[in-house]
C-alpha cells in the first residue's frame, strides 16, 4: 500500500500506473471475451472496413473487428509477457540466489551455464525452442522466459553477493540462522526492489520479443490475436489498410511507455539512495 501510494505521488509513476492499469483492464476484458464484437468472428462482407461507428478501429482482412482483436490481443500479449517474465524471474532468482549463496563451484557452474545461454544468440534460442516445441502461447512463454533467465540470474546474483556480505547476514549467522532462513528473509526480501524494476522493464522487452517472434511466424497461432501478430499480419496491408498497423503499433508503444514509466517510478520509490534526506 505504501508503495502504491508512493507511486501515485510520483509524476511518471502516476502516468505509467494509469496506463498499465488501463491495459490490465483491457486485457482482462479481452481474455474474458467482453469485447464489442467477437474477436474471431469474421464479418466477411465487411472485409478491410475503415474505422467507423460499427467498427471503431476498422476490420481486418477477414472482416474481424480490430478493436475487439486489439483487446483480445492485449490479453494474449500480456499473458505471454507476464508468464514469460514470471518464468524468467523465478528461474533467474533461484539460480542467482543459488550461485551467490552456495558460491565457489556452484557459482561457477551456474554462471557458465548462463554464459552459454547468453552467448547463444537470443532470437536463435527462441527460434529453436519454438521450432522444437511447435509454436503456441506456452511455447512462446517458455522461449522468451529462457532467453531472459540469464539476465535475471545476473540481476539477482550481483546484489545477492553484496547482501551476503552485509552485517545483518553476519548477525544472522551469529545466531545460527539456517541457510534457508537467511536466503529467504535476508537476501530475497531485499532483492524485491531491484527485481520489481527489472520485471517492469522485462515486461516491455517481452512484448517486443513476442512481436518479433510473430513477425517470424513463430508466435501466437491464428485465429487468436496478439499485438505482435496483428502488427506483423498488417505489414503487407500497410498501404491498403493502414489502420491495421496503426492501432496495434500504438497499443504496443503506449504499453511499453507505461511499463517504462512505471519502472522508472518504482526505481525511484524503492531505491534507498533517492530516499536519502539531504545531509
Amino acid at each position: 500500500m505504501r508503495i502504491l501510494r508512493a507511486i501515485f505521488g510520483h509524476g511518471s509513476g502516476r502516468i505509467g500506473g494509469c496506463i498499465v492499469a488501463v491495459y490490465l483492464l483491457l486485457a482482462i476484458l479481452g481474455l474474458l471475451g467482453l469485447t464489442p464484437h467477437n474477436p474471431i468472428t469474421q464479418y466477411r462482407i465487411d472485409r478491410l472496413h475503415a474505422p467507423s461507428a460499427a467498427y471503431w478501429m476498422g476490420t481486418d482482412l477477414f472482416g474481424r473487428d480490430v478493436a475487439s482483436r486489439l483487446m483480445a490481443g492485449i490479453g494474449q500479449s500480456f499473458t505471454v509477457a507476464f508468464f514469460s517474465v514470471a518464468f524468467a524471474t523465478l528461474a533467474g532468482t533461484v539460480l542467482g540466489l543459488a550461485a551467490a549463496w552456495l558460491g565457489r563451484r556452484w557459482d561457477g557452474v551456474v554462471m557458465r551455464i548462463m554464459d552459454v545461454l547468453l552467448a547463444f544468440p537470443a532470437i536463435l534460442l527462441a527460434l529453436l525452442i519454438v521450432t522444437v516445441a511447435g509454436p503456441g502461447t506456452w511455447t512462446s512463454v517458455i522461449a522468451i522466459g529462457i532467453v531472459y533467465t540469464p539476465i535475471f540470474t545476473r540481476v539477482v546474483r550481483g546484489p545477492a553477493l553484496s547482501l551476503k556480505a552485509r552485517e545483518f547476514v553476519d548477525a544472522a549467522r551469529t545466531f545460527g540462522s539456517s541457510s534457508s532462513y537467511i536466503v529467504t528473509r535476508h537476501l530475497l526480501l531485499n532483492l524485491v526492489a531491484p527485481l520489481t524494476v527489472q520485471v517492469t522493464l522485462a515486461l516491455a522487452w517481452a512484448l517486443l520479443t513476442e512481436a518479433g517472434l510473430s513477425f517470424l511466424g513463430l508466435g501466437t497461432q491464428p485465429p487468436a490475436a496478439s499485438l505482435g501478430l496483428m502488427l506483423s499480419d498488417s505489414r503487407n496491408l500497410m498501404e491498403t489498410a493502414p489502420w491495421l498497423m496503426i492501432f496495434p503499433g500504438l497499443a504496443i508503444m503506449i504499453s511499453i511507455l507505461g511499463f517504462n514509466l512505471l519502472g522508472d517510478a518504482l526505481r525511484d520509490v524503492l531505491d534507498p539512495k533517492t530516499r536519502r534526506a539531504p545531509a
Binding site: 553476519d170 548477525a171 551469529t174 545466531f175 540462522s177 532462513y181 545531509a279
Partner: protein, 580 residues
C-alpha cells in the same frame, strides 16, 4: 578592521518550499584574517550546510539561501555578498579565494583521474598554468602537504593511496591557489586517530605558513582545542554559543555546550576509567571466554592454477581471557586485525589455528553464548523486516518458537534498552541511529548470552548518543553479568567502558592490562604513539608531530611463522610485548 568574512542572519532551506523547511536558521559570525573558527555540532545541527552555503555549493544539493548576507572581503579589499553572487562569479571565487576539504577523502577525489590531473586543474583554472608548468606546480603542491616522492605520486589514481594520503591530496588541491579562506568539513572524521593527528598537524603548519583563515567543522570538541581561535556551537540550525576558545571551553555558558564538554566521552589519559569490576572479585571463576593462540590467515594466490604463494596474516597469535562481568577492549587502527579477531570468535571467519573456550556460568544459558553487536546500526538490521521479526530471528534460529513468552521477553528487553513498547510492528528505518543500536543490543540479548562482542558498536553514533549507549551497556553488564569484548579505535570511548585493554598492532597484541594502567602509563612505543595522537580538551594549541610511518605489510611468504612473543610485566595485570 573589516573581517575577511562576515556572515549575518544566514538562513538556508531545502525542498520545494525552502522557507518552510529551513535547516540553518539565522547564523551570524565574523572571521578575521588568519583566524580559525571551529563550528561544533552533532548531525542535523546545520553545521555542514552552513559550510556549504559559504561557497554556495549548497545550490547543487537542493539547498536555497533564504535570508541573510555573507560579506567576503576580496583580495582588492572590496566587499562582496556571497548570497547574491551568480554562478559564474562563484566559479571565480571557489578554489581561488575559498578552498574546501571534505569528510570522505576516499570519495571526494575523482576516481578515474590521476591525482596530478586533479591538482593541476586548480592551477589551470585560476592561474592559467598548462603543461609542464602545471605539472611542476602540482608537484610543489604535493611537496607542500609533505607527501614523499611527489613526482611519482602525481601519476597515481586515488585508489592507490591511503585515506590519510588522499586527505593530504585534498588539502593540496584546496590550498593550490592560496585561498584566503579554507573550509574544512570534518576532514579527519573518517581517518584513524594517528592519521588524524598527522592531518591536524599539517593543517596547523600550513595555516601558519600562509596566514589563511580557516573554518573548521567538527563534531569533536576535543579536536578543536588544538587548532581553533574561536568556537561556535550549533544545535538545530542555530548557534547556541560562540566565543573565544579558552573562554568557551573553560566557562561554557549554554547548557548544550556544557553537555558536549561534560557528558560526552573525552579522553582523559586513564583518569576516567571505570571503578567497578575488579578482576580479583571474580577470582576462582572460569573465564567467560578464553582465546588461545588465535591465528587467521588468508591465502594469496597469484592465479587459479598455482598454489598459494603467501598469506595475509590478519591475526597472528592472539591470546586473552575475559571474565564474566568484565569488559576487555581491543584497540587498534584499521587493518590491525581487531575486527578479524571478533569475527573469528563468532565463527564468521574461519580461524587458521587457535582455540576458544567459552564458559557458561549459568545452567539456563543458551546454545549461543557469544553474541555480537555490529558497528553500523544501519547495515546490521534487515530493512525489510519488522522489529518483531528481527528480535524473533535468534529464537527461531536456535529452534525456539515465537510464543507469548518470547513476546513478553521482547517487550521487556525493548523497555530495558529504552525503546517505546509499540516498536515491535515498526521497521528499522523508522528509528534513529542510536535507537537502532539499542535494537541490535536487544537482539543480541534475546539469547541470554554470556559474552557480547561489541565491534565498534558506538563509533557511528553522535557523541551525545554515544554517551547514552555506553551508559546502557554498563547498566546491562551489571544487571546480566555480561562479559564484553569491546572493539574500538576510539580511546575516549574505550576509557569509559573498559576494565582491561588489549592494544593490537599488525595482527598481534602488543600491550594488555588494566585500563587505567595502560592508558596512563603506556609502555609499548605503539601504544604511546596512539595515545599521544588522541585529541583532548586539555591539550590546547598543541603542535602535533608530523610522521609518515605506515603500518607494515601483513603479507608474509608461505609458511612464515612469527617469532614467539616475549612479555614483560609492569605491575599487576599490565603486560607489554618486548620490542625489537
Amino acid at each position: 578592521m573589516i573581517p575577511l568574512l562576515s556572515v549575518s542572519g544566514l538562513r538556508v532551506g531545502f525542498g520545494r518550499d525552502p522557507r518552510a523547511n529551513e535547516v540553518v536558521r539565522g547564523i551570524s559570525f565574523d572571521l578575521a584574517d588568519g583566524e580559525t573558527l571551529a563550528i561544533v555540532g552533532e548531525s542535523g545541527s546545520g553545521k555542514s550546510v552552513t559550510a556549504l552555503s559559504i561557497n554556495r555549493l549548497i545550490d547543487f544539493s537542493g539547498g536555497r539561501i533564504t535570508g541573510g548576507s555573507m560579506k567576503l572581503k576580496r583580495a582588492d579589499g572590496s566587499l562582496f555578498d556571497l548570497t547574491k553572487a551568480s554562478e559564474p562569479q562563484m566559479t571565480g571565487i571557489r578554489g581561488a579565494e575559498i578552498g574546501m576539504i571534505f569528510q570522505e577523502p576516499m570519495t571526494s577525489l575523482n576516481p578515474v583521474l590521476t591525482i596530478g590531473a586533479q591538482i593541476e586543474e586548480s592551477f589551470r583554472l585560476h592561474r592559467g598554468l598548462t603543461g609542464r608548468q602545471a605539472t611542476s606546480a602540482a608537484k610543489d603542491a604535493l611537496d607542500r602537504v609533505r607527501i614523499p616522492d611527489a613526482a611519482r605520486r602525481l601519476k597515481y589514481t586515488p585508489n592507490q593511496l591511503s585515506g590519510g594520503m588522499l586527505q593530504r591530496v585534498m588539502i593540496a588541491i584546496a590550498l593550490a591557489c592560496n585561498p584566503r579562506l579554507l573550509i574544512a568539513d570534518e576532514p579527519t572524521t573518517a581517518l584513524d586517530v594517528t592519521v588524524q593527528a598527522q592531518i591536524m598537524a599539517l593543517l596547523g603548519e600550513l595555516k601558519r605558513e600562509t596566514g589563511m583563515s580557516v573554518i573548521f567543522i567538527t563534531h569533536d570538541i576535543g579536536l578543536v582545542a588544538g587548532i581553533a581561535d574561536k568556537v561556535m556551537v550549533m544545535q538545530n540550525g542555530q548557534a547556541v554559543e560562540q566565543g573565544e576558545l579558552n573562554q568557551l571551553l573553560d566557562r561554557p555558558g549554554h547548557p548544550y555546550t556544557r553537555h558536549l564538554l561534560r557528558d560526552v566521552p573525552h579522553f582523559a589519559n586513564g583518569r576516567a576509567t571505570r571503578a567497578d569490576g575488579k578482576r580479583d572479585e571474580n577470582a576462582g571463576m572460569n573465564p567467560a571466554l578464553k582465546v588461545d593462540g588465535l591465528v587467521v590467515r588468508f591465502p594469496l594466490k597469484s592465479n587459479v592454477f598455482s598454489r598459494a604463494t603467501g598469506a595475509v596474516h590478519a591475526v597472528d597469535g592472539i591470546d586473552f581471557d575475559l571474565m564474566p562481568g568484565e569488559t576487555l577492549a581491543i584497540v587498534g587502527e584499521s587493518g590491525s586485525g581487531k575486527s578479524t579477531t571478533a569475527k573469528a570468535v563468532l565463527g564468521l571467519v574461519r580461524s587458521t589455528r587457535g582455540s576458544f573456550s567459552i564458559e557458561t556460568n549459568s545452567a539456563a544459558r543458551s546454545a549461543r553464548p557469544v553474541q555480537m553487536v555490529f558497528q553500523n546500526p544501519y547495515a546490521s538490521l534487515n530493512p525489510r523486516l519488522t522489529i518483531e521479526s528481527i528480535l524473533a530471528e535468534p529464537v527461531i534460529a536456535t529452534g525456539g518458537r515465537v510464543d507469548a513468552g518470547t513476546k513478553a521477553a521482547m517487550a521487556s528487553l525493548l523497555e530495558r534498552v529504552g525503546l517505546p513498547a509499540n516498536s515491535l510492528q515498526r521497521y528499522p528505518h523508522e528509528f534513529s541511529g542510536g535507537q537502532r543500536q539499542r535494537l541490535c543490543i536487544a537482539r543480541a540479548l534475546m539469547l541470554n548470552p554470556s559474552v557480547v562482542v561489541l565491534d565498534e558498536a558506538v563509533s557511528a553514533l553522535d557523541v551525545s548518543v554515544q554517551a547514552k549507549v555506553l551508559e546502557l551497556l554498563v547498566d546491562l553488564q551489571r544487571e546480566f553479568g555480561l562479559a564484553y569484548l569491546f572493539i574500538s579505535h576510539d580511546m575516549a570511548v574505550v576509557e569509559r567502558i573498559a576494565h582491561r585493554i588489549a592494544v593490537i598492532y599488525a595482527g598481534q597484541i602488543v600491550e594488555i592490562g588494566k585500563a587505567a594502567s595502560v592508558l596512563s602509563q603506556p609502555r609499548h612505543s605503539y601504544t604511546k604513539k596512539l595515545i599521544a595522537a588522541v585529541p583532548t580538551i586539555d591539550r590546547r594549541r598543541e603542535r602535533f608531530e608530523l610522521d609518515t610511518r605506515q603500518m607494515p605489510s601483513l603479507v608474509r611468504p608461505q609458511g612464515f611463522e612469527p617469532a614467539p612473543a616475549r612479555w614483560e610485566a609492569f605491575g599487576e595485570d599490565h603486560m607489554v610485548r618486548v620490542e625489537g
